[in-house]
């Protein structure tokens, strides 16, 4: 394990891209401590590791967005220096990030050609000629919309296809995909996998970065694992199992923690939702949440679950229906009213909706507790001691790995950032905590910790509503699961009924019924 440079060997072809002994540090933090990577032509290469393991840093170096402190990059056996993003493109490297770099107001064609040289006639861009060239490429990746469609009208999945087209137009030899399936439905993901296999067969290599190990196992010809900025190891497909992979990522076996769902139907009702609607995404939702219960909301991306959560939290206005909170009529005017009523919310997008990245941990934790941190009720001065105590307590309670309470949260890893967003609510001990995709983009270890925390909170009497698009997650957490589809609750699963398969099957039931 201490041998960082050994990349397991018996391969016939020479690698087309090699990174060797890459070091990189930010300020005093060493992000990469001598990692390396070999990519064969046309292979699908998985890159996995916990948040903060150094995957993104290496990708940014390949993309020319960061310069390594030391180390070697080679393409076709020749040393290369990637000074900037343009150089990366020239070298045939393309990057598709989680946040897609598309201009929503521009057409598919314009987006595909963004940043590349365009054929022109008499000084004007010859779009018809370009379209004729792009069309076969679009067809190849299965993009069915006309090229003149605005990207704002496309689904996330189609936007991915547009990005892939862009890479192909540049005649890329390597496409790096960062968490491609994070916001895709299972069907869309399958479509993407088919395209990736097709690309691979035609000689385009794919560096596939994901936390979803099943995808990695299914798709990748070889897998590289990083941990804490070190290269852990490199696997061939043949030698790979899920357990081996998890162990390499975490640095030890992870205990499985399926739970025994309990029946809360006779427990006190904390929140009763009746016929709640906000068209078109939420259509007449009714359910009850009991004290101490963990209630899961399963279904496909776009089923209306996040929209339902936002209605309960007062972030959006409802079109109809009503809610009762602890037996009282509950009409939240805005999120601050919801918070005052005893509800906490951990949004889906922690970086854009959960955190103020430039501010410190203490600041971010304090945000939901401003009035509690005042010196007195009538004097809005902040009690600095209480504020740092709260921050230290949160770090201790959630085992957050941070360099003190004053470090900007933007520097924390995804899992630790998520813990900060959750931690901000704990001091208030809300009656209800809503978690929207609590472990998206979070590594295996932190995921287990967050799951344990949620169970603990429920055991202490908090009611928790969990939204998750990962069918594996809800059985680990929930006493009861509601499946949503197209804005409606289509199935309720309780007790033994809760299983991965039941959730998947129920999620697609509507789709299947329609196609049948």
């Amino acid at each position: 394990m201490s041998d960082h440079s050994n990349i397991s060997g018996a391969r016939s072809a020479p690698p087309f891209l090699t990174a060797k002994s890459i070091f990189k540090s930010f300020g005093g933090v060493h992000a990469l401590k001598g990692v390396g990577l070999d990519i064969q032509p046309g292979e699908v290469h998985g890159l996995v590791g916990a948040n903060g393991a150094g995957k993104s840093t290496l990708i940014r170096i390949l993309a020319g967005l960061e310069r390594p402190d030391s180390g070697q990059l080679m393409l076709d056996g020749k040393d290369i220096v990637v000074e900037n993003a343009q150089k990366a493109t020239e070298l045939g490297l393309s990057f598709i990030h989680q946040e897609l770099a598309l201009v929503p107001s521009m057409t598919i064609l314009e987006n595909i050609m963004l940043g590349s040289k365009k054929e022109s006639r008499m000084g004007m861009v010859n779009w018809p000629a370009i379209a004729r060239k792009v069309e076969p490429i679009a067809k190849r990746v299965g993009l069915t919309q006309p090229l003149s469609t605005n990207c704002s009208k496309l689904s996330t999945a189609d936007n991915w296809l547009v990005s892939i087209c862009r890479a192909l137009v540049h005649e890329s030899r390597l496409i790096v995909m960062d968490e491609p399936t994070a916001s895709l439905s299972a069907a869309e993901a399958e479509r993407l996998f088919a395209i990736i296999r097709d690309l691979s067969a035609s000689g385009v290599a794919v560096l596939y970065v994901s936390h979803r190990l099943d995808e990695i196992l299914d798709l990748c010809d070889s897998v590289t694992v990083f941990r804490d900025g070190y290269l852990v190891t490199n696997f061939d497909k043949a030698s790979l199992t899920r357990d081996i992979l998890v162990e390499a990522i975490v640095g030890g076996a992870v205990e499985s923690q399926s739970i025994e769902p309990q029946d809360f139907s006779s427990a006190e009702v904390v929140l009763a939702v009746q016929n709640l609607s906000r068209y078109p995404r939420v259509r007449g939702i009714s359910f009850e949440l009991h004290k101490g219960e963990v209630l899961g909301l399963g279904g496909l991306v776009g089923a209306g679950r996040s929209e339902l959560a936002r209605l309960i939290f007062g972030a959006d206005k409802k079109d109809g229906g009503k809610m009762m909170l602890n037996g009282q009529q509950y009409r939240p005017k805005n999120p601050s009213a919801a918070v005052a009523a005893g509800i906490g919310f951990v949004p889906e997008e922690r970086r854009t909706e959960g955190l103020i990245l430039t501010k410190s941990l203490a600041f971010n934790v304090g945000l939901a507790n401003l009035s509690q941190l005042q010196l007195s009720k009538f004097l809005p001065l902040t009690n600095q001691r209480a504020r740092s105590k709260l921050a230290h307590d949160t770090i201790a309670a959630l085992q957050i790995k941070a360099q003190g309470i004053d470090a900007p949260v933007g520097r924390l890893s995804g899992g630790n950032q998520q813990k900060v967003v959750i931690g901000r609510w704990l001091a208030r001990s809300p009656d209800i905590l809503i978690l929207d995709e609590p472990t998206r983009g979070v590594d295996v270890g932190a995921r287990g910790e967050i799951h344990r925390l949620v169970r603990q909170l429920a055991a202490d009497g908090m009611s928790v509503l969990v939204i998750s698009s990962e069918p594996d997650e809800l059985p680990d957490l929930c006493d009861r699961v509601l499946i949503m589809s197209e804005g409606r609750i289509v199935r309720e699963l309780a007790g033994d009924q809760i299983s991965r398969n039941a959730i998947v099957e129920a999620s697609y039931a509507q789709d299947l019924a329609k196609t049948a």
Partner: protein
């Protein structure tokens, strides 16, 4: 994997230059102020580095400081307030008018005028938050309306005659040798600093400026905080207008208009001070001092008036440049 100590790391090449750049972005303004004071002191050892000159500069800077301090509240919540100069001009005319023509007691007149200033800020805030008009447009529009109201009230004629000495004394008087303006300015800045850095409202203000979506989902009423920030901006602008009228001994229709540019330059210089491109009260304080001492130096060396415009415009561009450099470095 067991080997986690970092001593075996290779030397890091471009780290030094990055730290230097970062330091320049963070401490550049303060060092710049120091260097400027030093150069002026060396070049003009008699006129520049004297208690009376420094007092004079601070006194001159007080009004710009208060208006810039208020503007800082607007920019922290993420909105620009282009109405501050016009607002201050109206305040000067209104306060003298109320005192001279309506014979309202001075103290009450000042309170009314500051309240009007705050109200203008609230109107700005309502337009920005409820009608969702971009703050540049909203405050430019409201500012222009304010100019119109100002002319409607004064007919463009300065109110000079009958301004009581007591009113002029507010700005011209001294307390134990310290001009009142400096004391008022320091009080305002300290209060604003405490508000932003040490109160729960201040935390909310910073959160709204940092990430409004996250602030909202943490249970903060973003609209109210924005309105509050713009109201403070308006109140500080009108206080500046009152003090200017007191200093000039008259209410003049466009007396304070030019404070707009000074305030913006100072606020952006301030955002490049100590923090990476974040607006904050102490930064604004430094920003105003840089501009004030710069002007003072130009005056002492007999630079022509037009050079002041060039200086101020250049400072504004430089300040915004430094501020975004800070932000870029903070992200990398």
């Amino acid at each position: 994997m067991t080997d986690t100590d970092d001593q075996s790391l290779p030397p890091i090449k471009n780290r030094g230059s990055k730290i230097l750049l970062g330091a320049m972005a963070r401490y550049g303004t303060i060092v710049g102020l120091g260097v400027m004071l030093l150069i002026f002191s060396v070049l003009s050892p008699r006129a520049f580095p004297s208690v009376s000159n420094f007092t004079n500069v601070l006194n001159q800077a007080s009004l710009a400081m208060i208006i810039a301090g208020g503007l800082t509240m607007a920019v922290i919540v993420g909105e620009l307030d282009l109405s501050v100069g016009f607002n201050a001009s109206l305040a000067g005319v209104l306060v003298t008018g109320l005192i001279v023509q309506n014979h309202i007691p001075i103290f009450l007149a000042i309170i009314i005028v500051v309240a009007v200033g705050a109200l203008i800020g609230v109107v700005n805030g309502l337009i920005v938050t409820k009608a969702r008009v971009n703050s540049v447009i909203a405050t430019l529009g409201v500012g222009t309306i304010v100019v119109g109201l100002n002319f409607a009230y004064s007919a463009g004629v300065p109110i000079v005659a009958g301004v009581p000495e007591v009113f002029k004394e507010i700005s011209l008087g001294r307390f134990h040798g310290v001009p009142h303006n400096i004391i008022i300015m320091l009080a305002v800045m300290v209060l604003l600093w405490i508000l932003v850095e040490r109160t729960s409202i201040g935390q909310a203000i910073q959160a709204v400026g940092g990430n409004p979506a996250a602030a909202r989902l943490s249970g903060i009423n973003v609209d109210n905080i924005k309105i509050f920030g713009l109201a403070l901006s308006g109140a500080c602008a009108s206080l500046t207008g009152v003090l200017l009228a007191s200093r000039l001994g008259s209410g003049t229709t466009s007396a304070a208009d030019s404070y707009l540019l000074t305030a913006f330059a100072a606020v952006f210089l301030g955002s490049a001070t100590l923090r990476d491109g974040e607006f904050h009260v102490f930064g604004t304080f430094i920003g105003v001092l840089i501009i004030a001492f710069g002007f003072n130096g130009l005056n002492i060396f007999g630079a022509p008036t037009y050079s002041q415009y060039i200086f101020q415009g250049a400072i504004l561009v430089l300040a915004v440049g430094l501020s975004s450099l800070g932000r870029v470095l903070a992200e990398s």
